[in-house]
Symmetry: C2
Subunit: 244 residues, 2 copies
Amino acid sequence: MDPYQLYYWPGLQGRGEFIRLALAEGGIDYVDVARRPEAEGGGVPSLLRVMREGASVPPLAPPILVAGELVLAQVANILLFLGRRHGLAPSDEAGLYHANQLQLTVADFVAEVHDTHHPIAMGEAYETQQVEAKRRAAYFAKDRIGKYLGYFERVLEGRDSPGGAYVFGADPSYVDTSLFQIMRGIEYAFPRAYARVEPEVPRLRALRDAIASRPRIAAYLGSPERLPFRENGIFRRYPELDEL
Amino acid sequence: MDPYQLYYWPGLQGRGEFIRLALAEGGIDYVDVARRPEAEGGGVPSLLRVMREGASVPPLAPPILVAGELVLAQVANILLFLGRRHGLAPSDEAGLYHANQLQLTVADFVAEVHDTHHPIAMGEAYETQQVEAKRRAAYFAKDRIGKYLGYFERVLEGRDSPGGAYVFGADPSYVDTSLFQIMRGIEYAFPRAYARVEPEVPRLRALRDAIASRPRIAAYLGSPERLPFRENGIFRRYPELDEL
């Protein structure tokens, strides 16, 4: 079978990173199409092309995964597909839906993180909405980081298999790689707010470290494919949004 | 089998309504637990109880569906479960993921609608963030309603089965009942902005009307269980947010 094709905006981690981390953990072969040169069929034109003419049900936005005839969009949907096909999610019915539920809660958190720097208009620059961003970020830092991370900590606390390092026991799932990413991201973007929550989430920190030391994840994180966090993605470090 | 138990904040449609519409179309027996009197085990206490002690993976927020041993949260996740179990989604692999993808895009739209009246802090009253709400709603009305509804119109335009009334052909899915709800909701909340988009979405309007005339949906819409849209849910009519 041809390798999967991933399409995402080149030059940033963004929501595509949740897919890349799962692909890395699974050792799954793929081409990150839009990161290739335009002359080789990549770049933004390739992304726009697959959005325009890709599927019987077209995608509204990237990330997009092309798997043979199947063209899929929406992070949680792509991960559901990869999880079932590649053993990156529990195989029983309850585990399947619980993985999906947790990933959707990760997605809610990611949308809230994004809106701290774009509270008014996602299509306009941060600088045009900085006043509102400061107010939204203050609320987010005060009420939402602790709410979400505290929730995921409770999920880990209540696991059926407390011996395992991961949400569903001894084997990592795409939920674990996603929790790794939000832990790294929130510490990058909101170091002060995160420092206040950190003592309350020991299980999440252990999970983050366990994922970081998985051999394939470690190799990916050390490769040029892992772009750094910076001020063009979901997790942005604007010091004025992280005041105490 | 015992009927399903649905838990959602009583007194409003909210996100629970997407579940209720699918249950209605499927003719699926359920108890809307938190709408029952507290003396009979209902009310908000019942909702808080199921969130606190309901499951191996606890829910963060309602709606919550209890199906035997399974406790599920997140609208799109509950609909995926109901869709597969009750024939409210295509049964082939591509259709399953495409239904999920479309529902997740509905969820993105619903989150954006919500944030028009709560752009800063979802836990605080509208009146505390009305200035920002006006700015966000103006952007939403100008750029986002047409973007999302235009997208769903394109999905209908590109269907494999143009003869059918619904997204996946002749049989309605939970995606159709969800599209019905956002069409009704957006017309309620943003009548002026919607009026500008309406001529561009004839297929969506036809789908909305086809769903409204399904016998079980019509019965549900005419029953006391269908609460009216009003200013305590996702779709709120604040005239100051719908100026031209």
